[in-house]
């Protein structure tokens, strides 16, 4: 069994990504481009926040971590380990869709890899979220392909958003010098590098179908730092807002 420190580190990264992106995506609830899509996007935001909650619970129940609400709503910014990708403000729907597409495929390959993790709670969780993730990527693929093929404007917006987002998305797979080898050796998960390649294998055929050009991954510099607690200027205000009510009285029940 691998050490608690290594497992804890991995879980926090995964959970913080889900929480912060779910939070961002939920900002679209009620403001989406058409009611049907508003509903679909909101469900997927809820799923992400739900995944975060489940992961914090694993931390709490299996690894001696804090109560999930307190852990999520009271931690200082520097203790967060989310990737910069999820911190970025929503911008337009084009950026939100591409982020959703890139992140959810990354999420999918990660959870798939946990199906036979040596850490049992991961196995259970990956089974539980499998169907949700299948819907998320089905939704993302359909939108990316259709918008890119439908009109010049749709295509241009998708390609631009992809170009602007790809380095941030590659940052999801920031390696961890301290813990990764141990987790791989203990068969907890296959490591960031392996997941990164699986991710490229997933997104590439979809981009081909959409006639979008994947930027040359050799030339881009993945945006790292989030996993070490270094964040964009967008995270601190997000966390302050998220915890605003909770922190009025952290001992009270809300």
């Amino acid at each position: 069994m691998s050490s608690n420190a290594a497992l804890t580190d991995l879980i926090i990264k995964m959970a913080d990504d889900e929480l912060v992106l779910g939070h961002r995506n939920s900002e679209w609830t009620g403001l989406g481009p058409v009611m049907e899509e508003d509903i679909a996007f909101s469900s997927m935001a809820q799923d992400k926040i739900g995944h975060a909650w489940a992961l914090y619970r694993i931390l709490h129940e299996n690894l001696g971590g804090e109560d999930p609400d307190r852990f999520a709503f009271m931690r200082p910014e520097s203790a967060f380990k989310c990737a910069h990708l999820v911190e970025m403000p929503n911008g337009g729907y084009d950026f939100s869709l591409i982020r959703h597409f890139l992140f959810d495929h990354a999420e999918t390959v990660r959870y798939e890899s946990l199906q036979d993790s040596s850490f049992e709670p991961f196995q259970l969780l990956s089974k539980k979220v499998k169907g949700e993730l299948k819907y998320h990527t089905l939704h993302a693929n359909a939108f990316i392909i259709q918008l890119s093929k439908a009109s010049e404007e749709g295509y241009a917006r998708m390609q631009t958003a992809l170009n602007d987002t790809i380095a941030l998305a590659a940052g999801i797979f920031e390696p961890s010098a301290a813990h990764e080898e141990e987790l791989i050796a203990e068969k907890v998960y296959p490591g960031e590098k392996a997941l990164y390649h699986r991710w490229l294998d997933r997104i590439y055929p979809v981009l081909v179908k959409a006639s979008l050009n994947l930027p040359d991954m050799e030339t881009i510099t993945p945006v790292y730092g989030g996993r070490q607690g270094f964040h964009t200027t967008h995270l601190a205000p997000l966390l302050k807002e998220m915890g605003e009510v909770f922190n009025l009285d952290t001992e009270a029940s809300w």
Binding site: E27, L31, E36, I39, A40, P89, L138, A142, Q146, E241
Partner: protein, 122 residues
């Protein structure tokens, strides 16, 4: 920057003027698809409503969340509303005499009566 809304989400939007004329074009909410919901394997698909979507694939994607995010569901059908063919309401009278044609119905045949009559006659 701030719109002075109480909603921090709204304060991040670049709102236009309240009096601005914004019009949605006819057809901008796409076409209408009827949605049929199957609650369990072996059951009929039942009509539950419709979604607006640009094509069948997205109609299905949308129907999944609008009509199956709570209720038990194993499958959905979508079909363009324009492709549904139905009888006119005035044609309801075509169905009027269905119940009277008891020669189509088990209850229209009194075998026991005949058997008893036969037995008594012996």
């Amino acid at each position: 920057m701030s719109n002075e809304s109480l909603d921090p989400r709204v304060n991040r939007l670049k709102l236009g003027d309240a009096s601005a004329v914004i019009k949605v074009e006819e057809g901008e909410n796409w076409n209408v698809y009827e949605v049929f919901h199957q609650e369990k394997r072996g059951a009929h698909h039942e009509h539950v409503g419709c979604v607006h979507a640009p094509d069948p694939q997205l109609a299905l994607v949308f129907a999944k969340e609008q009509f199956a995010r709570r209720k038990k569901c194993v499958n959905l059908w979508v079909v363009r509303s324009a492709d549904i063919l139905a009888f006119d309401v005035e044609d309801e009278d075509m169905f009027a005499n269905n119940l009277e044609k008891n020669y189509r119905d088990a209850s229209g045949f009194k075998v026991m009566e005949k058997i008893n009559k036969f037995k008594q006659s012996k």
